[in-house]
């Protein structure tokens, strides 16, 4: 029964079961607030020691899912297993998880030491062990000199480090991060991002990380689960998600500047299938699709800015021609905006290249890194 409903619930693909025991397993999870169904029949296996990022725009259910794993929300249906133990009805403190929150959530009246040891005192651990664990966590996070300060006397980065420490001292297998870097400024964010990655390499705990920032997701994750409307759209390694997005939504969500989409049609050309884009025919040599493409289908051709090469308009190797709209210099490179029969296209070019607005250029696509989606189902073909 579980298997059939799994297939029904996942529009893309049912999550593959890990070979060894999953660290966190979610089975047919439902969650509703009154009549609003946030999560419906969700299945997810998180491997031992994996860094899994739940990515999506706000309201997609990613934080809700994390709160369900943490036990801070009562599920409406389904089961949650952590290390094969059914924790569906367990209290958050009994689940073997540590959690880091966006707003740090440090206890304001306690010192850093008090914050770190609060959970351990609740477990009634011996004083010596509390002391030892606090010192070890403080050592790992380099906050030894802050132990006697109050949270109000710490900077944002220090606070978040203490918050991570509070999860660390609990000696748990699973770390849950709820947008931990969103309250920090850009510089600190990238610093702490690296630190979290280093921490994961050192500890090799399972980490579940919720974010809406795709850079964080791409840099940190072993696998990313992209969510939309409470449904996991794709669960894959970052590079796979980037190069072979499962559907139009994922393709448009991941990547900045985002992928360009062109309406096209598959046609018969010289015995193989080619793509009819506007007036030009693009051969599908090297395209890595999910299966053979039949001619005569309406499709959407998606290509990222860095997978287009700008050539001379008269170049016979060019797939199509387009008109230069404007040039956006970004420092390391430039973004060239083009117009092709009313379709907007962006191309990443070298920063010293110069194209006058209004001029016509030729474009050739790197088909091995492009995607073709069905217009109806929006799935990658």
């Amino acid at each position: 029964m579980a298997l059939t409903s799994e297939k029904l619930a996942e529009p893309v693909a049912a999550p593959a079961l890990a070979e060894d025991t999953p660290s966190v397993a979610i089975r047919n999870l439902d969650l509703a607030f009154g009549s609003v169904k946030v999560l419906q029949n969700l299945n997810l296996d998180i491997r031992q020691g994996e860094f899994l990022v739940l990515l999506g725009s706000s309201g997609c259910g990613k934080s809700t899912l994390l709160n369900c794993i943490a036990g801070l929300l009562d599920v409406t249906g389904g089961q949650i297993f952590i290390n094969e133990r059914n924790v569906t009805w367990a209290e958050p403190s009994e689940r073997g998880i540590g959690m880091v929150f966006q707003s740090y959530a440090l206890y304001p009246q306690m010192s850093v030491r008090g914050n770190l040891s609060f959970g351990l005192k609740n477990q009634r651990l011996p004083k010596a062990e509390i002391e030892e664990r606090v010192n070890r966590a403080a050592g790992i996070l380099q906050i030894e000199n802050l132990l006697d300060r109050k949270p109000a006397a710490l900077s944002g980065g220090q606070r978040q480090r203490v918050a991570i420490g509070r999860a660390l001292v609990r000696d748990v297998d699973v770390f849950l991060f709820d947008e931990p870097l969103s309250n920090l400024d850009a510089k600190l964010r990238s610093e702490l991002r690296v630190e979290i990655k280093r921490l994961h390499q050192k500890l090799s705990n399972t980490m579940v990380y919720v974010t809406h920032d795709q850079i964080e997701a791409l840099t940190l994750a072993d696998r990313i689960a992209i969510m939309r409307g409470g449904v996991i759209q794709q669960l894959d390694a970052p590079q796979t998600i980037y190069n072979k997005p499962a559907n139009l939504y994922v393709a448009g969500f991941i990547g900045s500047p985002s992928m360009s989409f062109l309406d096209a049609e598959t046609v018969e050309s010289g015995g193989t299938t080619a793509l009819q884009v506007g007036a030009r025919t693009v051969p599908l040599d090297g395209y890595e699709g999910e299966g053979p493409l039949a001619p005569g289908r309406k499709v959407v051709f998606g290509v990222r800015p860095e997978h287009i090469v700008v050539t001379d308009a008269a170049d016979p190797a060019a797939h199509v021609t387009a008109t230069v709209d404007l040039d956006e210099p970004m420092g390391s490179d430039s973004l060239l905006w083009l117009d092709m029969d009313g379709h907007k296209l962006s191309v990443r070019i070298a920063s010293d290249a110069n194209y006058a607005p209004g001029s016509t250029v030729g474009l050739s696509f790197d088909l091995s890194k492009s995607s073709i989606f069905d217009t109806q189902s929006e799935l990658r073909l």
């Binding site: 709160n67 801070l72 958050p92 403190s93 009246q109 609060f118 609740n122």
Partner: protein, 312 residues
Amino acid sequence: MTDATATYTGPHGPKPKRRLSPTNIMLYGTLFVVAVYYLLPLYVMIVTSLKGMPEIRLGNVFAPPVEVTFEPWVKAWAEACTGINCDGLSRGFWNSVQILVPSVILSIAVASVNGYALANWKFKGSEVFFTILIFGAFIPYQVMIYPIVILLREAGEGISAVTGTNFRLMGSIWGLVIVHTIFGMPILTLLFRNYFTSVPEELFKAARVDGAGFWGIYFRIMLPMSLPIFVVAIILQVTGIWNDFLFGVIYTKPDTYPMTVQLNNIVNSVQGVKEYNVNMAATLLTGLVPLVIYFVSGKLFVRGIAAGAVKG
């Protein structure tokens, strides 16, 4: 072109302010009038309480005392008669203290837990429960006076029957304590609920992950964070209960009358000469407790009121 040390021409630096602008005259004039309006009665009371009766009979209400005497204060505190008791206001004062302390502690203890539960441990129907509780604040006291008389009488007799003692709730200090606790509940619960709602939810979640339960979170996380709102609640309750007259006169007996009721009996006694100086001293004595509370806690009170402002 221009020398850096050259003097400016035209406007420069901060704009000069006029001390005697029409706005300032209006502002300070109004403040002065209002201050006088409130301070004048107090002045008259203090001055009168320090005069002897012959001086009062001269009729100069605003004149300062020619001969300062503390006799009226002593009499008001220790000698003034109400009914058969002639031990002054002191009896009422101690009665009031005995009513005040348990009422304040009990009502705040219950209301803070109420507010905490309603803010952080939402249960099915908690919003309805809260609405009903708040609705209680708008029911006129008069409607509830007699039912409570019966409730206290029956409850007291019930306790007596069970324990085999002659315990009475109606007419005793404990009956009044219960009444004050109940009537303080709506507004205090609202106050605490709104304060605890403003505490970030993630803090509460973090404490749950750390293994703290209902009482653990209340005592170790919430309580230490909510000193301002407790100060507000204490001030509201101390002044409210101290100034209460209606419940005091209904639910207690002459032996256990609170200070306010006793003050009324002294001031309104019809026999003998009206001793204005004693009356004034008695009134000032009765008002002293709330006055001291306000003076001591003014700043904390304002801060706490802002923190517990009514919202969502």
